[in-house]
């Protein structure tokens, strides 16, 4: 399951989606808004997505994870809009028979999302703002 969401991400429903009788391992990664970036205090983050393409690019990554590892079920939900400290920006959950596959697939998915998916994050500080990664 791949989705973008303007509402808070519901971890419990993601976990129930991942249930499978063959699953022995489940790795769940949450990317969370933290209170600082390079020691500069963060007030909030604004996430913006090219929705249609973000979903299809995430789906490509999930499809590749299925090709590389024995994935039983997989869920990726990325938040958009304004997020405060402690809110979940992205959830990735992978259920597999054995744990190595769950860890490897989950890590591959988050690493690749950060490289290819058209989602942009603006960090808003008390004294300014910056689009992350935008400048040389």
């Amino acid at each position: 399951m791949v989705a973008l969401s303007t509402d808070p991400i519901d971890v419990a429903s993601a976990l129930s989606y991942l249930q499978s009788e063959q699953a022995g391992a489940l790795d769940l990664f949450l990317g969370v808004v933290r209170d600082n970036t390079q020691d500069r205090p963060v007030d909030r983050l604004d996430y913006e997505a090219y929705d249609r393409m973000a979903v299809s690019e995430i789906q490509k990554i999930v499809d590749e994870a299925h090709r590389r590892w024995a994935v039983l079920r997989c869920v990726v939900i990325h938040r958009t809009g304004t997020l405060r400290i402690g809110e979940i920006a992205v959830l990735i959950g992978v259920a597999t028979a054995h744990r190595a596959d769950a860890f490897d697939a989950c890590r591959y998915i988050i690493d690749t999302i950060k490289q290819t998916v058209p989602i942009w994050k603006k960090e808003i500080f008390t004294d300014g703002e910056v689009w992350v990664n935008a400048h040389p």
């Binding site: 913006e48 090219y50 249609r52 299809s56 920006a89 999302i113 950060k114 058209p118």
Partner: protein
């Protein structure tokens, strides 16, 4: 003959141009590279961005890809999801 295509702008590209969509007039056989050239000419501030990619109909496109006036075209500044 020319045609006018509408281009979606996101993130810092939208902030720097002040627009979420711009109309660009291009030759009928114009490529992705031609589009980027025109955009940079019209909005010189875009050169301050680390890299700009172009998506055509929701897929990343190479600079030599030809554009058609009914393509959905988007400018993709460096992504920072996750």
């Amino acid at each position: 003959m020319n045609s006018t295509i509408s281009v979606l702008l996101f993130g810092i590209a939208r902030d720097l141009t002040g627009q979420s969509t711009v109309s660009i007039t291009l030759d009928n056989d114009a490529s992705v590279g031609d589009l980027l050239g025109q955009l940079h000419q019209r909005y010189p501030s875009l050169t301050g961005i680390r890299s700009l990619l172009v998506a055509v109909n929701g897929e990343y496109a190479e600079p030599e890809q030809r554009l058609s006036h009914n393509d959905e075209i988007a400018i993709i500044p460096p992504v920072s999801g996750g």
